[in-house]
């Protein structure tokens, strides 16, 4: 491993850690991408429960007009990607390829990633960083399982 690639990996990791802890310190939220995606696109209709139980609107329910905070996090992620596609040529940054496996495999892989993250309640970020970062037993087990299975699968397929 070259020094520059090591430094990039470490620096990138630090940025991810900072991003995730920022969200926890300021908003009290876990930076779990699969959970954020799921809550943004398939939101719980919690308000119906509240109406049903007659619960008063809580501390922040009354001011949550407009898109949920999850959409802002996703917008930030997408925005960084947009900037990357605009500058990578000038800066000599790498282009990524998404055709290493066939399209049917991409579909099956995507389905498994989505279903697995939903049932397992987290992905690389939610379990692997935020969960392990607070020494959650569930996240430690989940991370060991998905890394081991992914490594086994990658050895078998690639």
């Amino acid at each position: 491993m070259e020094l520059s690639s090591f430094a990039a990996a470490l620096g990138g990791g630090v940025l991810i850690g900072l991003s995730a802890i920022l969200l926890m310190i300021f908003n009290g939220r876990i930076a779990g991408i699969s959970g954020i995606l799921s809550s943004a696109i398939f939101p719980d209709k919690k308000w119906t429960d509240k109406q049903f139980t007659g619960e008063k609107s809580s501390d922040n329910a009354d001011d949550e007009s407009g898109p949920a905070w999850q959409w802002f996090f996703i917008a930030g992620l997408v925005l960084t990607g947009v900037i990357y596609t605009l500058v990578y040529e000038q800066l000599g940054l790498p282009v990524f390829e998404f055709d290493t496996v066939s399209q049917p495999m991409l579909l099956i892989g995507g389905l498994l990633v989505g279903l697995g993250c939903s049932l397992g309640r987290g992905c690389t970020s939610g379990h692997g960083i935020c969960g392990i970062g607070r020494l959650s037993l569930r996240s430690i087990v989940a991370t060991c399982v998905f890394i081991a299975v992914a490594a086994g699968t990658a050895v078998f397929i690639h």
Partner: protein, 159 residues
């Protein structure tokens, strides 16, 4: 108060930007690099790429130290995060088969394609058709999972 909602959303946007930058800089957004890490058989011929381990170490070093220096003492003292009334942490503490099954299915998909949810979203801007297929399938998977979990919840409530 309207202002705290706005502050939460701006924080979320900044956090998303930083997260995306981290994914792109670290190489995690590149499926080939992820497969280069996951395919541990490459250790034997010296082409294995340990980057992902370095990324996780860097991220965990920052997250864990600040969690135990700032967040944990705050929770113990009954304090709230800066812009919200409480910390939103998972209530489940015990292991169950659904956690292991879910993690295994995720690992299977990740090992095949080399893309996990964060990189999938940060790469949307490439407008790559293959990535688009993956993202659609992933969202469909999240939807099925959500339906299964709510069906399960209703069964528990009914019994």
């Amino acid at each position: 108060m309207k202002t705290s909602s706005m502050k939460r959303k701006i924080t979320a946007l900044l956090s998303g930007v930083l997260f995306g930058a981290g994914l792109l800089l670290s190489g995690l957004a590149d499926p080939a690099k992820v497969i280069g890490f996951l395919d541990v058989s490459r250790i034997s011929n010296g082409t294995w790429d340990p980057s992902l381990m370095v990324v996780m170490t860097g991220a965990l070093a920052v997250y864990m130290s600040l969690f135990y220096l700032v967040v944990k003492p705050n929770i113990r003292a009954g304090l709230a995060p800066v812009f919200d009334a409480k910390y939103h942490l998972p209530e489940k503490k015990t292991l169950d088969s659904q956690l292991v099954l879910g993690a295994a299915l995720f690992g299977l998909g990740w090992g095949v394609v080399g893309i996990c949810p964060g990189p999938a979203i940060v790469n949307i801007a490439t407008l790559d058709i293959n990535l688009g297929l993956f993202v659609l399938a992933m969202l469909f998977g999240l939807y099925i999972g959500k339906q299964l979990k709510s069906a399960q919840l209703n069964m528990v409530k009914a019994s």
